[in-house]
């Protein structure tokens, strides 16, 4: 018995060591055609991967759905630091700047021919993945055009119009949106929208010409009147009693959506998938109206190839084929992600695309319209942290009894602490 304990320990040590030895990159075999792909969960990436593999039977793709977009970016950071990276990775727009800031971690896609396809994409979307010395780090897979999803049955019960044109006409501005909310609340006694932070502030602050950074990449969040205006709108919505006080993607938010605890929710194009999966029983009770202010973009993702990738060429072949205008159009018909390639915006496949879950709303047309007249702004490495502090300040006023009068100053001072300015 005395002998066994050390033996057992040695065995454990060996097992641990084995477990710690890096594997040999799974799907990325030696044939140069196969590759490993990290994507987000819950965006149906597998459909597109399967379609590619059907066309190229000799290619093996090892798809890993890492988690949410933030979790994927965190895993990527850890992987880059550790040296064991996938061949291809999907990065959400909000997380992109921190990687663009450190371009030495990625393959400069110009070396694989990115300049040849550059013209296919929306110029301002493309520019967000270009690093300081012109390195191209990612190819945009989709954009997050904006709209408002609303419940036709609840609108009808409140005596509001239900037709999507008439509903859009209710709120040309965010102030009108809040007024509509008050009408709804008066008629039904229930909350109009889910929360002020994401459904009002985060939408409004993405409709500006200059956000937290100026065009020459200086921090202007505390002095930019456009940001302050969006923040004030958020506070106004939070204190007007029209929100359910349920933060997006929390469990109560999901439950509330199924139970009709709110009638309208801001819906960037990727949100439609989320509504479908969160509240499948509400199929056919939704419709989609224009976003107040008419245009805007929130989100959208990029495909990038880390520097240590074993099969960068195979990954690039995938990007080139699946992210071409035709590839993105097909992707739209599969999962509804809005293409980042403007040449297909007039294509009947996109303009005639109707979504039965949302009362046959022409989603392709509504969302591409929201991108027209868009004023692009620079997104910097601290944009995500700044946005989060503003969100938290509004949530605190809405749900935590925070003082609306000092919310702005509090948020600015929290941001200064957070980004170490």
């Amino acid at each position: 018995m005395k002998l066994r304990l050390p033996l057992l320990c040695t065995a454990t040590a060996l097992a641990l060591l084995t477990a710690c030895t890096p594997g040999t990159g799974g799907g990325g075999g030696g044939d140069g055609k196969s590759f490993e792909f990290w994507s987000f969960s819950a965006i149906n990436q597998k459909l597109t991967v399967d379609a590619y593999q059907a066309k190229h039977p000799d290619v093996q793709i090892k798809l890993t759905e890492v988690g949410s977009s933030t979790e994927t970016a965190q895993s990527l950071t850890t992987a880059l630091a550790g040296g064991k990276v996938p061949d291809l990775v999907l990065i959400q727009g909000d997380n992109l700047p921190q990687f663009v800031d450190q371009p030495q971690n990625f393959v400069d896609l110009r070396t694989l021919g990115a300049d040849d396809i550059k013209g296919d994409y929306l110029d301002w979307v493309w520019k967000q993945s270009v690093a300081k010395d012109g390195e191209v780090l990612g190819v945009p897979t989709d954009v997050g055009g904006m709209a408002v999803a609303y419940r036709t049955d609840l609108f009808a019960a409140a005596g509001l119009p239900t037709d999507r044109e008439a509903v859009s006409a209710l709120w040309p501005t965010w102030d009108a949106f809040i007024e509509t909310g008050k009408r709804y609340k008066q008629a039904t006694g229930k909350a109009f929208t889910d929360n002020a932070a994401t459904s009002v502030f985060y939408q409004a602050v993405n409709q500006v010409s200059e956000k937290y950074y100026s065009a020459d990449r200086k921090l202007v969040y505390s002095t930019n009147p456009q940001v302050k205006a969006a923040f004030d709108l958020g506070i106004k919505a939070a204190t007007s009693g029209i929100t359910a006080g349920q933060s997006s993607f929390e469990s109560a938010w999901s439950a509330g959506m199924g139970q009709g605890a709110y009638a309208a929710v801001s819906a960037p194009s990727w949100m439609l998938n989320s509504i479908r999966s969160t509240a499948p029983d509400t199929k056919g009770k939704w419709d989609i109206a224009r976003i107040p202010g008419g245009s805007g973009n929130w989100g959208g993702s990029y495909l990038a190839i880390p520097k240590g990738a074993k099969n960068p060429q195979a990954a690039w072949n995938y990007i080139k084929e699946m992210q071409s205008p035709a590839g993105q159009l097909e992707h739209f018909t599969r999962v509804g992600a809005l293409p980042s390639t403007p040449s297909v915006y007039k294509d009947p496949k996109l303009t005639d695309g109707k979504d039965p879950f949302f009362t046959d709303a022409p989603t392709g047309k509504i969302y591409t319209d929201s991108l027209l007249g868009l004023k692009p702004f620079y997104i910097g490495p601290d944009s995500a942290a700044i946005g989060q502090e503003f969100l938290d300040a509004i949530t605190n006023v809405e749900q935590g009894g925070g003082n609306p009068a000092t919310a702005w100053d509090d948020a600015v001072s929290n941001i200064k602490t957070a980004i170490g300015e």
């Binding site: 965190q74 850890t78 450190q102 942290a385 969100l391 935590g400 009894g401 957070a418 170490g420």
Partner: protein, 314 residues
């Protein structure tokens, strides 16, 4: 005769060819036996610890530059309101969970030790069920019980005409919620520790006291508590060290790594994790880790002093 006097044939023993070598092997073998633990501890315990101290002196971007900045991370930490907020939350949650938990365990141990308790084994085992339930499962259940809109607790409050309480979004509410989870998880474990210690007290002492006219409260006050003094100090110290490192409950209770919009329930470990693995400020995260390490060592030292005193008293 001579045969019996002949020493045992030397072939049956290993030849002491080199007595020095054999002595060395014998002297070294104990170290070989304990080596696996110390090797593992060195690789997975000591090295990460030392490396944390090293990283704490840098502005360390895991995918970018690592710049030596001396003690700047610590200067920043001491003037960071988020650090003090997290420290305050940690202490508040610790007090709200440890004090009721130890009192509850004390009373329960006293009851479970009662001579006439039926099904004693069943009761003694069932208090351990929360302890073996996963923290994540506990957190999910409690978050639903305490939910503002659809929670059971607020439904009950509604029945008696009290407005729904937003436990997660308010500071005291979130602390109570987390402390409840911690208490729920650990009271059974503490109870068993007390019970084990109580069972070493001869029953005759309780019986003699009862014959002399001591009521249940007097027996509890004058027999149970004094005989448990060493183990009470032990549990206070271990639950304090545990309380300083509380992580899973606040992470699963609030929204995200800040545990709510105004960090109302962010503990020190959660703040460390947010800075290290949310913002990827490895240097700053390590500095927080060092601060936490110092606090735990200080409390362990207090434990050492107290327990040596108790031994000296005896």
């Amino acid at each position: 005769m001579t045969a019996t006097l002949t020493p045992a044939p030397s072939a049956e023993l290993p030849p002491p060819a080199s007595p020095r070598g054999r002595g060395l092997a014998e002297r070294l073998s104990p170290y070989a036996y304990v080596a696996p633990f110390f090797v593992l501890f060195g690789v997975f315990g000591l090295f990460p610890l030392a490396f944390t101290f090293y990283v704490a002196l840098f502005d360390w971007n895991p995918i970018g530059d690592q710049v030596f900045i001396g003690t700047d991370n610590f200067t920043r930490m001491f003037s960071d309101p988020r650090f003090w907020n997290a420290a305050g939350n940690t202490v508040s949650i610790w007090a709200l969970s440890t004090i009721p938990q130890l009192l509850l365990a004390l009373v329960l141990a006293h009851v479970l030790n009662h001579a006439r308790l039926r099904f004693a084994l069943f009761f003694r085992m069932s208090v351990l069920v929360p302890y073996i339930t996963s923290v994540a499962a506990t957190a999910v259940v409690f978050a639903q019980l305490f939910d503002r809109d659809y929670g059971l607790l607020n439904w009950l409050l509604g029945l008696v005409g009290i407005d729904p309480v937003d436990f997660v979004q308010s500071t005291w509410g979130s602390h109570v919620l987390i402390a409840t989870m911690v208490t729920w998880r650990w009271f059974g474990y503490t109870t068993l520790l007390y019970l084990a210690s109580l069972q070493s007290v001869p029953r005759a002492v309780f019986e003699a006291a009862a014959i002399d006219g001591a009521g249940p409260w007097q027996r509890f006050r004058h027999i149970t508590i004094p005989s448990l003094r060493p183990v009470i100090i032990f549990t206070v110290v271990t639950s304090t060290i545990g309380g300083l490192q509380i992580f899973t409950e606040p992470l699963l209770t609030g929204s995200g790594l800040t545990c709510g919009a105004v960090r109302q329930c962010q503990t020190l470990t959660l703040f460390l994790y947010e800075q290290g693995f949310g913002q990827f400020e490895f240097g700053y995260g390590s500095a927080i880790g060092v601060a936490l390490f110092v606090m735990v060592v200080a409390i362990a030292a207090i434990n050492f002093v107290l327990s040596t005193r108790i031994k000296a008293d005896r």
